[in-house]
């Protein structure tokens, strides 16, 4: 009986969604003329190269046009990480100690993890440093670095990342982000205004404050995700 109602609800939801999207032709251009922009997407495509000289338009939107929103997003991530820690906090009882994984992993995984871990860190740093030139950016690079730490957590039973170090990295990155924003205010423009010279398109140092902000976001996201993994994987066993 209950299942019948649920199926009915799913049919209704599916029908409403399908009906709505059947009116939107897939693959049709809704941008309008890019040179005389009337939609917001066409405006971004038309102006990003001239005004910001950033190759990746999505980075320009996320960090420059919607920079304040990204600050909020990073704050949400920070709140999720600290909320997680406060929900899962348990005091160590006598004789307990922290273990990440209860069993030792195989020799193969341990050696492979040790070998590949630095390469993953370098790849993550590459992705967030080149966030304004290639696909990728601070969030993606941070996630790659955190996946490297996850590999180490899985391979080594007693591998730990100090929570103090993570907190420091995270706080400094957050302070850098906010002070870049306040820098815009001090130089007489708005919060998070792009105050530096924009350079030439497709150079590593171009786009004004965008690479600075994305590097800060990369460090912050890496530290937060590693902290989340560390908290979620932390068993406490008697020994």
């Amino acid at each position: 009986m209950k299942k019948a109602f649920i199926i009915l609800l799913l049919v209704v939801v599916g029908w409403v969604l399908a009906d709505t999207f059947s009116q939107i032709t897939f693959g049709e251009s809704r941008l309008g003329d890019v040179k005389q922009p009337e939609t917001v997407g066409a405006y971004y495509l038309n102006n990003t190269v001239e005004k910001l000289s950033v190759a990746n338009v999505i980075t320009a939107i996320v960090v420059n046009y919607r920079g304040f929103d990204t600050l909020g997003e990073v704050t949400v991530l920070f709140l999720a990480a600290s909320g997680l820690a406060s929900i899962l906090y348990r005091r160590k009882e006598k004789g307990e100690h922290d273990v990440m994984i209860l069993k030792n992993s195989s020799q193969l995984l341990q050696t492979g993890a040790k070998l590949i871990f630095p390469a993953i860190l370098v790849l993550g740093a590459y992705v967030f440093i080149h966030g304004h030139l290639t696909p990728g950016g601070g969030f993606q690079g941070g996630a790659i670095i955190a996946s490297g730490f996850l590999l180490m957590f899985m391979a080594y039973k007693d591998y730990h990342v100090s929570h103090n170090v993570l907190t420091w990295v995270e706080s400094v990155a957050g302070i850098v982000f906010v002070s870049v924003g306040i820098w815009g205010l001090i130089s007489g423009a708005t919060f998070l205004e792009n105050v530096l010279g924009t350079g030439t398109l497709n150079d590593l140092i171009s786009g004004g404050v965008i690479p600075l902000i994305y590097i800060a976001v990369g460090f912050k996201v890496a530290a937060e995700l590693t902290g989340v993994l560390e908290t979620l994987l932390n068993f406490k066993t008697e020994k």
């Binding site: 399908a18 897939f26 693959g27 251009s29 990746n56 997003e73 991530l77 999720a80 929900i87």
Partner: protein
Amino acid sequence: MDPIIYNKIITVGVYGSAIGLILIGLYAVLVKKHLTKIVIGLSIIDSGVHLLFIAVGFIKGGTAPIFSPKGIELVNGGAQMVDPVPQALVLTAIVIGFGVTAVALSLVIRLYRHHNTARIDHIKSLKW
């Protein structure tokens, strides 16, 4: 194959799979008793919504909105770039979805520690 029918198939395939993912996730959230499966259902709904967003922004024959040397070459050759706004919004949505999943999983762990089970029909104190 007739291009009109081909377009229809592609449209139904892309929108259909996105809506299908949303419905599968909704089914898992409504029917499953195990809390971990409910969290998995939530993240499946997330993926469906992201796919729907990207599909709406896609332009046939369009390139990625990146003005790399290759991208500039393609644009000069007459290709159009896809709408960047849905992609930027999905980037935000993925991060928020991660936060939701992490907090939900931590609540599941907490409930498991307290009741020694993660099935909602076995947690007696929820009934009244």
